[in-house]
Point group: C2
Chain length 177, copies 2
DNA sequence: CAAGATTGAGGATTCAATCTTT
DNA sequence: AAAGATTGAATCCTCAATCTTG
């Protein structure tokens, strides 16, 4: 069933995945950093808040949505708050919880960064792939996530389309209320 | 050409790639850590040295092969040396260069870890993928790497088969003197 | 001066412990 | 006691500066 050749092919695929992820992440991060001074994680956090109905998310929600630990989120929000891109708000119904709410400045910063990110993604990622490649890739990644009990629909949608092409909201309206 | 739906699909694929990479890396790292106390990068470094003709590699070679900076390699080798898994050796022909040479203990540790890693990779990665998925995945990753000028054949082969099937290539004693 | 390697400083992330609220 | 969040300590990584050799 699993020959040495298989194992080798498998391992090579894994190494290539790691390397490709690294290369693309670096490219995106560089562009984003130069343009807005944000890290990928910081931009993701902002975008997730922007995409939520009230423009805010609880710290634990953010931690659950993102690839960062709870304390990691605390520090990440600290940085964004110091730059005036988010503001912490107390929760009225549960005084243990804290909301991170995106500010106007945060919204502007995050929206401005989207085209940069989209361009970078095209440049370093999708430009080299066929449409079928992208679909196959996503399918495979989804299988891996599901197989490891980590598949959640909300994790991969981060309100992208709203920002790059707000006019298209007419076709597929997604009321955020 | 690029509709909003495309962009969204593309971005979702990218997010899923990030997440899958994270999930699998964590699974592998946990197993490896529990079994041998090595990080993935440390094990990779050991394996690359083990796979070289003389069982050693220059610091800069390691940095080039791996996803770590030059100073990162210095620190990584520091840690391995402190554990007696590698030893630094001077280069005779160029006194600026330093070789990191794997020790016998390092070889044993790295070889013992291979089956653990292989099992983890099967469990969290390939078990959920068809043979075609793996091939398609590798192809796509290869395209991305090549498109970004980062494709090198040596980067993805790390002497895997030698270790999981030692009878294929008799592992002999090697005096690193 | 350029190349190879190391060091110091600083950033980001995590775990475990802590504090408050439920 | 458990949940939500934060903090302190530790780890790991990178950049820029440094040192040595070519």
């Amino acid at each position: 069933m699993s020959t040495v050749r298989d194992e080798h092919e498998l391992f090579a695929a894994w190494m290539n995945l790691l390397q490709a992820q690294s290369v693309v992440s670096e490219a995106l991060e560089d562009r984003l950093q130069a343009d807005s001074g944000l890290s990928l994680a910081e931009h993701e956090a902002l975008s997730r808040m922007a995409g939520s109905p009230e423009g805010d998310l609880r710290m634990a929600e953010l931690a659950d949505l993102m690839l960062v630990s709870k304390s990691g989120v605390t520090r990440l929000i600290d940085r964004l708050e110091a730059r005036g891109l988010v503001a912490r708000r107390a929760c009225e119904t549960d005084r243990r919880a804290t909301y991170a709410a995106i500010t106007e400045k945060g919204r502007i910063t995050a929206e401005r960064a989207w085209p940069v990110l989209a361009e970078g993604l095209t440049e370093s990622f999708s430009r080299h792939l066929g449409d079928a490649d992208v679909k196959a890739l996503r399918k495979a990644m989804r299988k891996i996530l599901a197989g490891n009990g980590k598949w959640e629909d909300t994790r991969c949608s981060v309100g992208f389309q709203e920002h790059v092409a707000p006019r298209a909201a007419q076709t597929g309206e997604r009321s955020a209320g």
